[in-house]
């Protein structure tokens, strides 16, 4: 088996929540040595379930970057590293005397990735928005709504995930550039901009016609039926999307209503779209007699796109991710053993897995201070006494 793609690359992670840890999780999964640098003495952020999921495969050390004597070991660590990732407010790195120029004077080709909502430049660079707010800022919320009712945010911290994936890609590109050009660079990741990129067709469409898009609920701009239908059981739902005449005929047969395919209300795509209210009623009456899984199986067998709305328990219990080995058992010295979501980037030559549980607070101080920096016992004790680490 080959080495993981980022084996041998060291990333210093100054981020604590949101997009940053998600980005470094993806990079750590790919084999990078990600070292979380945490402030000493406060025990760090709560070692919660979420912390343990998002920080697996990482190392952790403590250093007080606010003190000059803390900066010194950090900058020495920078000389041994490839990438620094941070998500502070725009002035904080400068205030800590750890601006990109300072980092670069420690290591000429260091890569710095700065994650923020609004970006490192511009009149609003000091404003901050978290995941759900980024959705609203980026125009996604305005187009996410039931047909009747106000806009809805996505139920996950979508803006954080999106910025995190972008930051992981940015690290790969910056490493590419460093190999070609022999230099590092500062990358500005503004989650707001990344998110706008995921509704880009609405921007181009508005540019064409000057019309604001209207929320469609679960409907589509051309497919019908296209919706979420109640099934047997409490809060059980299935989604169905019909792309063309053939799939509609198959749906009608699966529902035991083959005559509907020739019904003038539904006989062609335009009629179906115009009469989708009626169609939704018919489909919903059928689905409510079955489980989401039974509807899905019947429609997939007929060649119609359908899938259950999976909540977290069904996602876990379901056969598909289990069969793909997505859930991986992890043992953590404090938290015990449980199944964790695995590595989403499935590589054929170097399959990646969860190698390490999330680090305890300061767990790798020894590795970093003695192992990497080669500090003596006396020097380490001095740092501990000075409250720089520990």
């Amino acid at each position: 088996m080959e080495r993981l793609p980022l084996y041998g690359y060291r990333i210093l992670d100054l981020t604590t929540a949101g997009a940053g840890p998600y980005a470094t999780r993806l990079l750590a999964d790919m084999g990078a040595e990600v070292i979380k640098v945490e402030a000493p003495n406060n025990g760090g952020p709560l070692r919660s379930d979420t912390f343990n999921h998002v920080n697996r495969n990482k190392y952790a050390c403590t250093m007080d970057l606010g003190q000059p004597r803390g900066r010194e070991p950090f900058l020495r660590l920078v000389t041994l590293s490839d990438v620094v990732i941070e998500d502070y407010r725009s002035q904080v790195l400068e205030d800590l005397s750890l601006s990109y120029d300072v980092l670069r004077s420690a290591k000429a080709d260091i890569i710095l990735v700065s994650l923020s909502s609004h970006g490192r430049r511009g009149p609003e660079k000091d404003l901050m928005a978290d995941g759900p707010d980024i959705e609203a800022l980026a125009g996604l919320t305005a187009i996410s709504a039931y047909l009747v009712g106000g806009p809805q945010k996505t139920g996950v911290a979508y803006g954080d995930a999106v910025a995190g994936i972008a930051a992981a890609g940015a690290v790969a590109l910056a490493l590419w550039h460093r190999r070609r050009a022999g230099e590092g660079q500062h990358v500005d990741v503004a989650g707001w901009e990344t998110m706008v990129g995921l509704i880009g067709e609405y921007v181009v469409g508005y540019s064409m016609n000057g019309r604001l898009p209207q929320p469609l609920g679960n409907r589509h701009s051309s497919m019908a039926p296209h919706g979420c239908y109640a099934c047997v059981g409490d809060d059980q739902w299935v989604t169905v999307a019909v792309e063309d005449d053939e799939q509609f005929a198959a749906l009608c047969r699966a529902m035991g209503r083959p005559e509907l395919a020739a019904d003038t209300r539904f006989a062609d795509v335009v009629s179906r779209y115009r009469n989708q209210e009626d169609l939704d009623g018919i489909v919903g009456e059928w689905t409510r007699r079955f489980t989401p899984q039974a509807v899905t199986e019947a429609l997939q067998a007929a060649g119609v796109p359908a899938a259950p709305v999976l909540g977290v328990t069904a996602l876990f219990a379901g056969p598909h991710l289990r069969a793909r080995g997505f859930w991986e058992s992890v043992s953590h010295p404090d938290a015990g053993t449980w199944d964790m979501d695995g590595v989403p980037w499935r590589l054929s030559r170097s399959p990646a897995h969860i190698r390490l549980p999330a680090p305890r607070f300061g767990e790798h101080n020894d590795y970093v201070l003695r192992g990497l920096l080669g500090l003596s016992e006396g020097e380490v004790q001095e740092l501990v006494a000075g409250g720089i680490i520990g």
Binding site: G119, A136, G150, E193, V196, A230
Partner: protein, 317 residues
């Protein structure tokens, strides 16, 4: 300044996810060749909105946006002649991106194993809703059904109403963004080690990794906290697309770009997803269907124009 210009990418994908992946690679300079089926080309060309609401294969906003900076050639890889041409193209390629149903390319003799024999350092990214194996691998899916199966729909919307899909094609874009980052990592690695990879990206797995704290709470404590909550407070509707175009911060940063297109005219597009100071983001238009047939087939593969005519008559291109 550098770019990914030495990175040749063949994009065999159809749909939003694969197109998003290669759009971002093209934006940072990769030489992306989009391979479209002869006749109508990429089905995304059928999607609106269109200028003046008049459908036209070169004017759909979704296609124009997702294919900036790419070249387009037509090729029917389902025909033997087309497959042979594809194999020649792969020899000069670093990355292949595809989104076919699992095993389809393998059945045509163009699975990763056989393409990697032509090009050992090839990175092939397969981005599909459910991945290459597992009981749901062959499932037909759209953005809606993938969003439902990836766990994000169950937690979106009001508790007493049906789960809600968010706007646009977020299940697909999310997978596409993952595909871009994973491909960039694997291509960077292959560039140094000459070791290629086949990347199996399942949209549902990508979505499941963003389900915190729901997944960790259930996984560790068997506590299901993934109920729909709606908006805890009346959610601000947020910015409209018009507000975005006028937002002082985005304007000051020069985020939006004007791109001219011979059929669709001059329109406004979002710019770079992130800003590496030493790698410029290129704002180039989407290609016309088969616009680069002559450049690639005659210029690179050294086919004659006469041969192009024969290929066209055979519906290969």
């Amino acid at each position: 300044m550098t770019s990914l210009s030495v990175l040749r990418v063949l994009d065999l994908s159809e749909g939003v996810a694969g197109a998003c992946c290669t759009k971002l690679l093209a934006g940072f300079g990769a030489d992306v060749i989009k391979i479209e089926r002869p006749g109508g080309g990429d089905p995304l060309r059928r999607h609106g909105p269109f200028p003046d609401d008049l459908p036209h294969p070169e004017k759909g906003a979704l296609f124009l946006y997702l294919n900036t900076g790419k070249k387009s050639i037509t090729l029917d890889i389902g025909q033997r002649t087309g497959a042979l041409i594809l194999r020649r193209l792969v020899e000069g390629t670093e990355v292949v991106v595809e989104s076919f149903p699992p095993r389809w390319l393998t059945e045509l003799g163009m699975g990763y194993q056989s393409l990697a024999r032509l090009k050992p350092r090839l990175v092939m990214t397969s981005v599909t809703p459910f991945g290459q194996d597992g009981p749901y691998a062959g499932f037909r899916a759209t953005n809606l059904t993938a969003f439902a199966a990836g766990g994000q729909m169950a937690v979106t919307g009001e508790p007493d109403r049906e789960p809600l899909k968010n706007g646009g094609y977020q299940a697909e874009y999310q997978a596409g963004l993952h595909a871009f980052a994973a491909t960039a990592v694997a291509a960077f690695s292959a560039d140094a080690t000459e070791v290629g990879q086949h990347i199996d990206l399942a949209g549902v797995e990508c979505m499941a990794t963003a389900l915190e704290p729901y997944v960790s709470s259930w996984a560790h404590q068997r506590r299901d906290i993934g109920q729909r909550q709606g908006n805890v407070e009346p959610a601000p509707a947020g910015l409209t697309v018009q507000d975005l175009l006028e937002a002082p911060q985005l304007r000051a940063r020069g985020f939006f770009q004007e791109i001219d297109h011979p059929a669709a005219g001059r329109q406004t597009y979002p710019g770079a997803p992130f800003r590496p100071e030493a790698m410029p983001w290129l704002a180039a238009r989407a290609p016309l269907l088969g616009e680069h047939n002559e450049e690639i087939y005659c210029g690179e593969l050294e086919l004659s124009r006469e041969e192009l005519v024969i290929l066209r008559a055979g519906r290969v291109i």
